[in-house]
């Protein structure tokens, strides 16, 4: 069991080491969080400024297999890399539609196995679009069981998001621990912490109870 002095020292180190390591990740998520909450900010517009192009390519129909196997085969032939999004339910085994996304680029692919051709609509986004997508780029969505992470880099990014969240939680807890050690600053700190906690509890739990009554 470390002594209180040692624990305090390492707690402080953890607080600023974690803060420094995650600094750029934190800035990204905080800044893009603001952008997502203010879609009207014209300086960060990206969708109206997107660049689109369409190309048609000859393909070899993929071997029979799962949709994922066939999509990967087509992506290899078309030199497209990214996270697969299933956008439509497949009704004809000779036709195949799916979307591939990566920050900054979206590919809508329509393959016709009878004609041995694929039409690819490519949408390119500006730097704001890249930032926007990075905030939400998880490869999965709540309530959507069909889409799973299928690109290694999406998994890496999702793990980075987990790490940032865990790092931020550690920083909050270590900060509270440091404050608690400052006896003279306890009253005002307790008031600030209580105000924040009560406000959050009101929104997370209280609103539902209030609107039920």
């Amino acid at each position: 069991m470390p002594s209180p002095a040692k624990l305090s020292l390492w707690n402080r180190k953890l607080h600023y080491y974690a803060g420094l390591y995650f600094l750029f990740f934190l800035w990204l998520f905080v800044f893009t969080g603001l952008l997502l909450n203010h879609p009207g900010w014209s300086f960060a517009e990206f969708w109206p400024k997107r660049q689109q192009s369409v190309l048609e390519r000859q393909i070899q129909p993929p071997r029979a297999g799962t949709d994922l196997d066939q999509a990967r085969d087509l992506m290899r032939q078309l030199s497209i890399v990214g996270e697969i999004d299933w956008t439509v339910t497949r009704s004809d085994p000779k036709e195949f539609d799916f979307r591939v996304t990566r920050p900054g680029r979206i590919f809508e692919i329509h393959a016709d196995f009878n004609q041995r051709r694929a039409i690819v609509q490519r949408t390119g986004l500006n730097a704001w679009g890249v930032l926007h997508i990075l905030h939400t780029f998880t490869g999965v969505r709540l309530g959507d069981n069909r889409n799973q992470r299928d690109w290694a880099l999406t998994t890496v990014w999702a793990l980075a998001m987990d790490a940032v969240a865990a790092g931020v939680i550690l920083m909050v807890l270590s900060g509270i621990y440091m404050w608690y050690g400052l006896i003279r600053k306890r009253p005002l700190g307790a008031a600030a912490l209580a105000l924040g906690t009560l406000t959050c509890l009101w929104f997370a739990i209280g609103l539902k109870l209030w609107t039920s009554s």
Partner: protein
């Protein structure tokens, strides 16, 4: 001048860092914990959620031309209808099914979603509420108000207050990160390790962003 800076500026920044940090730490926890649910598309209580309350209301007093209004006007016109139904919250979405004279309205509060199927010809509505639990509430707060349906978003006072609080949290986190860098630079003994970690963090961040977006 340097002496003035050190003796006056440092304690002020340190105290602001401390008290602002404590004030927004619960908000930061809301955003951080909900990340795990969003990144893994998983909620402890089933995402489908069971319907906890269902009722039908008849003889509703509906505003005129509800089917012809623009979306923002329609939201405002529906508020008294929600009051008659005893449903409060943010009108999250409205889907118009003209052929069937129906409006399908979703009303959200953190932890609950209410679906209202309103027949504006018959003046009746079926109301079904679904509990999403504490995790669902955190996820809702994380995404609120968000970029979707910006024309109608913030139609409930509580959403507007949360929007202000979420924005304030973001600005305060930016302040905390900058003041934190200042406080760290004062600690000479920690400069080297801190700098190495910051460079490593920057390298992993820009490396990942480059790999994803190139």
């Amino acid at each position: 001048m340097m002496v003035f800076s050190r003796t006056r500026f440092y304690p002020i920044v340190r105290d602001l860092h401390l008290y602002f940090g404590l004030l927004i730490s619960p908000f930061v926890l809301v955003f951080a914990f909900s990340v795990f649910f969003l990144v893994h598309a998983w909620l402890p209580r089933a995402t489908g959620g069971s319907v906890s309350a269902r009722h039908t209301a008849t003889g509703l007093r509906l505003p005129l031309n509800l089917d012809k209004l623009e979306i923002r006007q329609r939201v405002e016109a529906l508020r008294p209808v929600l009051d008659q139904l005893g449903v409060a919250g943010e009108i999250y979405s409205i889907r118009h099914v003209p052929r069937e004279h129906r409006l399908v309205i979703t009303v959200s509060v953190p932890g609950r979603e209410t679906a209202i199927d309103l027949d504006y010809e018959q003046n009746i509505a079926a109301v079904a509420a679904r509990e999403t639990g504490l995790a669902g509430a955190l996820v809702y707060l994380h995404k609120s108000p968000g970029p979707h349906l910006a024309a109608i978003r913030g139609n409930w006072a509580m959403t507007q207050i949360w929007r202000f609080l979420a924005d304030a949290s973001a600005y305060v986190v930016l302040f905390l990160s900058i003041s934190g860098i200042y406080l760290w630079t004062v600690l000479r003994a920690e400069r080297t390790v801190g700098l190495v970690l910051m460079v490593l963090g920057a390298a992993s961040f820009f490396g990942m962003v480059y790999a994803l977006a190139r």
